[in-house]
């Protein structure tokens, strides 16, 4: 069974929700974080009517969006239950909600977050009933709860009600048009008679209650009431007919406090409207107990009409028919392309996006990442209107810049020094290890990091866990000798921990950590042997390494020179440390050799969602830099 259904805006405000079983807010929050912000999980293609799913803590979430209105529709249910109708429900609810509230949302977009969605309850209940395929009996029984719940909520919404009524009007107008037509000639010929009867009864009752009310409220002025009666006579017939269906979901008017409110609105001069409202109330109340089903049928028709209208709108927006129409449309499209205010479709975007993709490929972004970026831009822009005096190209450009910034900006803090401080405060050395493919500059970048730490007066132990390549240990030894001399004045201290060649790297690393703890070193840097990322034999040893050495941070070194392979490298290394452990960051080396072709950064981050911590920008120990997202984005877009 469905647990929760929520309709929320991109700015995070829940507009409408229905909770059957309470679900923690963190479930939907993590959906937003993982899917919409960090884009860790790419939603699958939405064709065949299947909406993407997201699983978290035993719940399955399905969602859909109305991008132009900035709405997200989320359905949450237990993963154990298999609900086949959720996709249909999402589609229908989206169509209904955008149909009912679309204009309102568009109009009060500026400076308001409120939207009264009380009225949406019966629509939703009806959808659920329809889709769950319950029988007619249960339908009749279930009819009452929504209205009674409406009654309960009436008290809270009472003061604002007159305001709410106005936007609802178009709604009941359409229903009024549709109701009289089907009633006489369809398969239920009994409908017209009771409805007329009821309206006849309703009138005096309505007047009576009005008078009572006025007495009670102390407004018993004769001229005013007579004027009201006149308005009843004038408006009587049309208004009663109109409002029959409408009252079904507006049943909250039964509440006395609301009624009182109307009399006041009456005095302000809204007499006909108030009159109309109260009459519905009388009538629907009479009808509901007896013939609830007919009223529901009307609601159904209305609902179907809205859904059909939305679907038709969607279809009609795609193709334009006729020779003249299409050519005019083409000219208009060209014009709008220059001036702006054009609603973007996939076709509009396709050409410019291909150009953008080529541009990214030229910047050494891996094909996979470029395609994904373009897709995310397409998702971002489809259905949006370009702002005035901007072309499609420039819209895509700004959107791409935004997407790049979003990808490259790290989620968490990357402050190495603070982390070291925190770990050391708990009484153990900070362990940092470096992995990577052969020849990307692991040892060089390790010594650069060591130099940076030495400048900050840390005591650094470098562990030579590359026991495979000849000369690796000696190479580190040279680095340590240089660093010792350089840091002599600065006050840092550095040493090497080595056990020669041929030993197991994981054990050496573990020993180095122990040694460091004993000898009062506060940072351990572990160098590892370079390995090919698609060699299972070599990669499997990394899991043991992670288990024994327990590094606080594992950085992977990647070359800026590498092209498409960077995605696979990042993925394989990220997956090689066993479950629950992955990479913590990238060091991108040799950035000074590629000029503005810094696409590798994007490819690696895109493949794994792991941030770039350092950039190697030269041959010297001091040539280690942090990432400047703005600069990289500018280089990529230039």
């Amino acid at each position: 069974m469905l647990d929760t259904f929520e309709i929320l805006t991109t700015s995070g405000v829940v507009l409408w929700s229905r909770t059957y079983v309470p679900v923690g807010a963190n479930i939907i929050n993590s959906l937003i974080r993982d899917v919409f912000i960090e884009e860790r999980i790419i939603p699958q293609q939405e064709d065949a009517g299947y909406h993407p799913t997201y699983r978290k803590e035993g719940y399955t979430l399905k969602w859909t969006q109305a991008k132009d209105l900035g709405l997200i529709f989320v359905a949450v249910y237990q993963s154990l239950v298999h609900l086949t109708w959720i996709d249909k429900l999402l589609d229908n609810v989206r169509a209904l909600f955008t149909g009912l509230y679309g204009e309102q949302l568009n109009s009060n977009r500026s400076n308001s977050s409120t939207l009264d969605t009380q009225k949406f309850n019966p629509y939703f209940d009806r959808q659920i009933q329809d889709l769950e395929g319950t029988s007619d009996e249960s339908l009749n029984v279930k009819l009452t709860p929504p209205s009674s719940s409406g009654n309960d909520s009436a008290e809270e919404s009472a003061p604002t009600l007159p305001v709410l009524q106005k936007p609802q009007r178009p709604l009941y107008d359409t229903s009024a048009d549709s109701t009289p037509v089907p009633t006489p000639d369809t398969s239920r010929p009994t409908t017209p008679a009771p409805s007329h009867l009821l309206t006849g009864k309703a009138k005096p009752g309505a007047k009576l209650s009005r008078r009572d009310r006025k007495k009670a409220a102390g407004f018993g002025s004769a001229p005013a009431s007579s004027g009201d009666e006149a308005s009843v006579k004038r408006k009587g017939k049309s208004s009663t007919k109109k409002n029959r269906t409408w009252g079904e979901f507006g049943a909250e008017e039964e509440d006395p406090s609301v009624v009182l409110d109307y009399s006041q609105a009456d005095l302000k001069g809204d007499a006909p409207e108030a009159e109309a409202l109260e009459e519905i109330k009388q009538e629907t109340w009479g009808r509901k107990t007896g013939k609830g089903q007919f009223v529901l049928k009307d609601l159904d028709e209305e609902m179907d009409a809205i859904i059909a209208e939305q679907n038709a709108k969607k279809e009609s927006s795609a193709p334009s028919s006729g020779l003249v129409g299409s050519s005019l449309g083409a000219i208009g499209g060209l014009f709008r392309n220059v001036v702006g205010g054009k609603t973007l479709t996939k076709e509009d975007l396709a050409k410019s996006l291909r150009g953008m993709e080529d541009h990214l490929l030229k910047k050494n972004v891996a094909r996979e990442a470029a395609v994904r970026l373009c897709e995310s831009v397409e998702r971002d822009l489809t259905g949006l209107k370009t702002s005035s005096f901007t072309t499609v190209e420039s819209t895509i450009r700004t959107s791409m810049e935004k997407a790049l910034t979003k990808i490259l900006t790290p989620t968490s803090s990357l402050d190495l020094l603070r982390e070291i401080q925190t770990v050391n405060a708990s009484g153990r050395p900070y362990v940092l290890s470096i992995v990577g493919v052969n020849g990307v500059g692991k040892s060089t970048n390790l010594s650069k990091i060591a130099f940076f730490l030495l400048q900050n007066h840390h005591r650094v132990l470098i562990a030579a866990a590359d026991t495979f390549r000849s000369g690796a240990v000696e190479q580190l030894g040279v680095h340590v000798r240089n660093l010792k001399e350089l840091s002599h004045r600065e006050g840092g201290e550095v040493d090497i921990f080595q056990k020669g060649y041929g030993k197991d790297a994981a054990n050496i690393a573990a020993d180095a950590v122990q040694y460091a703890a004993k000898n009062n070193f506060n940072v351990v840097l572990i160098d590892t042997a370079g390995r090919r990322h698609n060699d299972q034999r070599l990669m499997s040893s990394l899991e043991k390494f992670a288990k024994l050495a327990k590094p606080d941070k594992i950085l992977m070194v990647g070359e800026a020179l590498v092209g498409t392979d960077s995605v696979a490298q990042a993925r394989n290394f990220n997956a090689s440390f066993g479950p629950g452990r992955g990479l913590d960051g990238f060091v991108i080396s040799k950035c000074d050799t590629v000029g503005d072709m810094v696409g590798t950064l994007v490819s690696m981050v895109h493949a794994t969602g792991i941030p770039v911590v350092f950039l190697g920008t030269g041959q010297h120990y001091a040539d280690l830099r942090g990432l400047n997202v703005g600069t990289v984005t500018r280089l990529l877009m230039s």
Partner: protein, 293 residues
């Protein structure tokens, strides 16, 4: 045809012809209307004072926004887009500028109106907020919402302090980088310690002390940290002198919020809770807002 010929256009323009008179009349009538149309379309309507809601994700920014708008906090989730709403200062709070106005005065009512701008707090989406900080035209004040319960533990405190540090640094840069000697308009900051209804929440004065400490730490490690890649990657040259800027009194000693007053930013810390068993309590925040209006 020279200009002094009888039928040249210049002669015609000065001749007492009917067509000339008609054209002149038309011009005289229509030009002011056209100018009026143009100018009034271009000129933006008078902007309301804006208050920026900033803070890490999950601190209660959107909840406070809905509270300000509807007088009751709505259910909210993580924001992915900024949202601005027009709110009215609640009854019982008098805007500072309208202190001597009577409540029936339309100017009094106008002074109570304000714009609240909510920004997403997620690490990847902070550019919405920073873009506002670079060019704060109508920003009257900044409300930095802090989850007082999450500040109690290390990770939450670090995140909050880092964001607050970046924000204050941006404000300071705006002041020191000003072209005129007068300096830009002051932007006061309220650190709103939210969620005080929770048992684990720190009281406001402790929030202040721990944030000051944490910001000193952030500043220290920023000073020591690796340089930014901007210059090395062929970025613009202006990145060079930016690096010499440290928050508060040259970055020496312990940081205190008081030091920010030198650069035109007063920082106040007030407690409150948007949600909670006994309803919301954001009185002190509204008082602060009323003071800035």
């Amino acid at each position: 045809m020279a200009w002094h010929d009888e039928d040249s256009w210049l002669t015609a323009a000065f001749a007492p012809k009917l067509s000339t008179i008609a054209i002149t009349l038309l011009l005289v009538m229509l030009l002011p209307i056209a100018l009026h149309q143009f100018i009034y379309r271009v000129q933006t309507p008078t902007a309301l004072p804006t208050f920026l809601l900033i803070g890490p994700s999950g601190s209660g920014k959107t909840a406070f926004l809905t509270l300000a708008e509807r007088r009751a906090a709505a259910q909210t989730h993580t924001s992915t887009a900024p949202l601005s709403i027009e709110a009215l200062l609640p009854d019982g709070y008098v805007p500072n500028s309208a202190h001597y106005r009577s409540p029936g005065d339309p100017a009094y009512e106008r002074a109570r109106r304000l714009l609240l701008l909510d920004t997403p707090g997620h690490g990847k989406l902070r550019h919405f907020a920073t873009a506002q900080l670079v060019n704060p035209t109508h920003v009257r004040g900044i409300i930095f919402v802090v989850d007082a319960a999450s500040v109690a533990d290390e990770a939450g405190l670090d995140e909050t302090a880092e964001y607050l540090h970046d924000m204050l640094l941006a404000l300071q840069k705006r002041y020191t980088g000003a072209k005129t000697s007068k300096g830009p308009k002051e932007i006061p900051v309220l650190i709103a310690a939210n969620k005080l209804d929770l048992f684990t929440a720190l009281p406001p004065h402790l929030v202040k002390i721990s944030l000051e400490k944490a910001i000193s730490e952030v500043r220290k490690s920023r000073a020591k940290g690796v340089k930014d890649s901007g210059v090395a990657m062929g970025g613009e040259e202006d990145a060079v002198d930016e690096e010499n800027e440290w928050l508060g009194e040259g970055g020496e000693g312990a940081f205190e919020f008081r030091q920010m007053e030198e650069v035109g930013t007063s920082v106040a810390v007030q407690g409150g809770n948007v949600l909670g068993g006994e309803g919301s309590d954001v009185k002190s925040w509204w008082e602060w807002v009323a003071e800035q209006l």
